[in-house]
């Protein structure tokens, strides 16, 4: 695939915190409808990649270019407004959900569409109800987040992201904070989104899930992409020694 066809092209992305260079030079191409799993050991920089794509961190260098814009070259001087323009295209699902505790489920979901995107309240509510129904939470619309289980909160987190009608969905370890018995309900929702051809980047430690859902697995370590490709190739027959060791460790933790 040539870069011009990709929904999003990331080239040479760099980010340091203090003296610690977390991203050395990351390249990524995301095709429309492609599900990309970002895997790798803790501290490998995968979450930082997501946060850079969503404007939660400002990269020190590299370009992030959406096919239909915006395209931002962080090597040059970038205004805050320019950097944040990237955010309009993507939506983020957090490891710890980060729902707004003082708002009901419905209010959480329509906050962005109504307050930021200035959509009509009635339409936003109708959309939110439809999305809630899809993830099986229609009856929770007037509950507050603290009344929900972790799995339910994360499904609301996903709906909140979907309600923004983004081109790109970003998942930062969406099941890592969940009790094991609640992981399934969240992964099921993400799998359905994959089947509907949403373009997604998922940072995850669930390798079995990555193999099942992802079109491409990107293995990162030490701030670089060590290896990427089809899930079966990267996770079953890794070419690189570092990838092999990582997969082994996750499969046989003891």
């Amino acid at each position: 695939m040539s870069p011009t066809d990709a929904l999003l092209t990331v080239t040479g992305l760099q980010k340091s915190f203090g003296g610690n260079q977390v991203l050395k030079s990351i390249d990524l191409d995301l095709a429309d409808g492609q599900v990309t799993a970002l895997v790798g050991p803790s501290g490998s920089g995968k979450t930082t990649v997501l946060r850079c794509l969503n404007g939660l961190e400002t990269p020190d260098g590299g370009t992030v270019a959406f096919r239909d814009g915006p395209s931002v070259d962080f090597g040059a001087k970038v205004s805050r407004k320019e950097a944040l323009s990237l955010r309009d295209r993507s939506a983020m699902v957090f490891q710890t959900y980060n729902l707004f505790p003082h708002m009901t489920v419905l209010e959480n979901i329509i906050e962005g569409p109504v307050r930021v995107q200035k959509r009509a309240h009635k339409d936003a509510v109708a959309d939110a109800e439809r999305l809630l129904d899809r993830v099986g939470l229609a009856d929770k619309r007037n509950d507050h987040p603290f009344n929900l289980s972790g799995g339910q909160q994360q499904r609301v987190g996903i709906v909140r992201a979907l309600a923004l009608q983004p081109d790109l969905l970003l998942f930062d370890e969406p099941t890592s904070a969940l009790d094991p018995e609640l992981v399934g309900e969240v992964l099921t929702v993400i799998k359905e989104l994959a089947e509907e051809k949403w373009t997604m980047v998922i940072v995850t430690h669930e390798l079995a899930f990555a193999r099942e859902v992802a079109d491409e697995v990107v293995f990162m370590d030490g701030g670089v992409v060590v290896e990427h490709g089809h899930p079966d190739q990267v996770l079953r027959t890794p070419r690189e020694e570092r990838t092999r060791r990582f997969v082994q460790r996750l499969l046989n933790p003891f």
């Binding site: 939660l56 983020m92 957090f94 980060n98 729902l99 707004f100 906050e111 307050r115 930021v116 909140r160």
Partner: protein, 219 residues
């Protein structure tokens, strides 16, 4: 005990409370809280100059007696040609004072909201200001109710100092009746009792407010 004096002095004192103490407290607290929010935001703005001004302000207010602040404004400023009437002087002094204390409370409350809440606001496209207004402050408000209630209750009692700059409020009524009747113990105890009742009402108001805001928070 002079029941007749107790009875005849009660209404002037209560009316001093209702037309002096309470409006003075409410106005000063409202203005002080608004100023406190500004000072708190300056303090956490990350701008060194704004932050230094805010720190200096808080330090001066907390490091000097309220009575001195009151006297500087009412008796001091006229010597540079700035004469302010008793009521506005009192409101200015008390709101500046409340702001000094409340700014630290508001700042701590804002900082107590998890960073993820800012990020969630940003990620749905909200600006810093909108996130602050819609996401952070409502949560900070809940945290700051108990300490701000303390500040308010202190303020209600501190307004008695306004009697020293000729504001007609509860304690000034008490003083005037006491100097006339020479029944100091009785009348000052009576004044104390009325202040206490005011504060009891405020405390129960605080509990009700906390209960209301607690609906959304896990325990």
């Amino acid at each position: 005990m002079d029941w007749e004096l107790l009875r005849t002095s009660f209404w002037p004192m209560l009316s001093g409370g209702l037309t002096g103490t309470i409006p003075l407290s409410l106005a000063s607290f409202a203005l002080g809280l608004a100023l406190a929010l500004v000072v708190a935001l300056m303090r956490i703005s990350g701008q060194p100059v704004l932050s230094a001004i805010a720190r200096f302000y808080v330090s001066v207010i907390r490091g000097t007696p309220l009575l001195v602040q009151l006297f500087v404004i009412f008796y001091g400023l006229p010597s540079i040609g700035l004469t302010i009437n008793p009521w506005p002087s009192a409101i200015i002094a008390f709101s500046l004072n409340v702001a000094g204390y409340a700014a630290e409370i508001v700042r701590a409350a804002i900082l107590s909201v998890p960073k993820g809440q800012w990020e969630a606001g940003h990620t749905i496209g909200m600006s810093r200001n909108l996130t602050l207004r819609r996401i952070i402050l409502p949560q900070a408000a809940r945290v700051s109710v108990p300490p701000l209630s303390n500040t308010f209750i202190s303020l209600v009692k501190d307004t008695s100092l306004a009697s020293l700059i000729l504001v007609t409020e509860l304690f000034r009524e008490a003083q005037q009746i006491a100097s006339f009747s020479q029944e100091f113990l009785l009348l000052y105890m009576e004044a104390a009792a009325i202040y206490w009742v005011f504060c009891l009402v405020l405390s129960s108001g605080q509990s009700a407010l906390e209960k209301r805001l607690d609906r959304y928070v896990a325990h």
